[in-house]
Symmetry: C2
Subunit: 255 residues, 2 copies
Amino acid sequence: MSGTVYLVGAGPGAPDLLTLRAARLLERAEIVFHDALVQPETLALASRAAKIAVGKRCGRHATAQRFINKSLVDAARKHATVVRLKGGDPLLFGRAQEEIAALRAAGVSFEIVPGISAAFAASAELDTSLTERGVSRSVAFVTPRIGDGQRANDWAASVLAADTAALYMAAGQAEAIAAALIARGLDAATPVVVVHDASLPSRRERAMRLAELGQLELRGSAPALILLGRVYEARVQRAERARCSRCASARAAGA
Amino acid sequence: MSGTVYLVGAGPGAPDLLTLRAARLLERAEIVFHDALVQPETLALASRAAKIAVGKRCGRHATAQRFINKSLVDAARKHATVVRLKGGDPLLFGRAQEEIAALRAAGVSFEIVPGISAAFAASAELDTSLTERGVSRSVAFVTPRIGDGQRANDWAASVLAADTAALYMAAGQAEAIAAALIARGLDAATPVVVVHDASLPSRRERAMRLAELGQLELRGSAPALILLGRVYEARVQRAERARCSRCASARAAGA
């Protein structure tokens, strides 16, 4: 027996933002190895499959990855259709290359199915294009790593050079991110939108200026997305007007 | 009558890389305005709908866009479900902001449905992650605009600052792109993969070094995608070995 392992993007969370190809593979799968963040409704599509959570949080990365690699190879010896289901797109911050290398080394056939990454779902809900004629012709997708010595500048340089930026896995680092970008010369008034749980009912978003991001407490649990750039100017102004009128009402009520 | 306009990502081309949400909307749609590049099989999902091609090629942009904006607003006065179907994701190089602004100005309700952008489909077919631990932590998506005076540097700066870059709508500009990037200091040996028609049966790809990109004739018709960065090193080496062994065979045959 030699099955195929499908590295499948589960999309941002909403089950109907899965691709048709991914949905059909889940329906056919005999076993599914999934990240912790994949939604129960998405997993439910794999009605025939054994489902194994292999999501790894920060730390203990290497051990967890070796276990996942071995599990995928072993499963392909027993099952025709093995699905490795990853949040978003498997090839953008999905650490797929390590699994690809392991499958290749073991001679296991595999195929990759793309998914909608969180920034695209968040942008759709914000009604704001990542690119815009005359405003933004480039978009950077980065994972900020704070206090990483030499390499710490890389993510900031990418953000500074692009018209729009999407910072993934930024939860709990808001203050350090804002400080690093401002220190590198990015305007403290740059519009920012912080998004949690894009595409899900629990979705939250907050528009502000870069300087305010430094004062924001981001809950460390959910992987927050930070969107940044001039395309969000109108959104931030709207938020500022709303806050302003709330203040005015409060003052009027107190008077 | 006041319908809703759905700005929907058609994905990279393969009909099964559409999202479930997009497929359901197409099935329900009464009228679909679509780009020239959307595949017939994808359009066929909109079995009840009148289908109107509004794709615009380079030039005549403003006129075409005004016509599209007006058509969407008019259609929403007559139909409950109007779909504006765009290749890839509507919010990445999809010029959606102009349509959003027109719909908002006319008081028409609208909703955006994300799609798989070409770089994700191409990466899946190349079995190569856009990001990779220790190699790439940032990805830039840009549209190169050559000879655009002051702004001509922007796209190149984004490419230089990122670990991996995806250059959209690069067809016919290969030589100028390579020259601009090398002039700005990017290593002429940087690995490059040029992809046409990602996800379609007509898909073609070619791996090379940045310096060779300058010698490549790209057909001006299809919107070619150029992927660039260290993550493609193995892919380029494989292509070089294949070419090398073909040369050796040819020499042996000639000897």
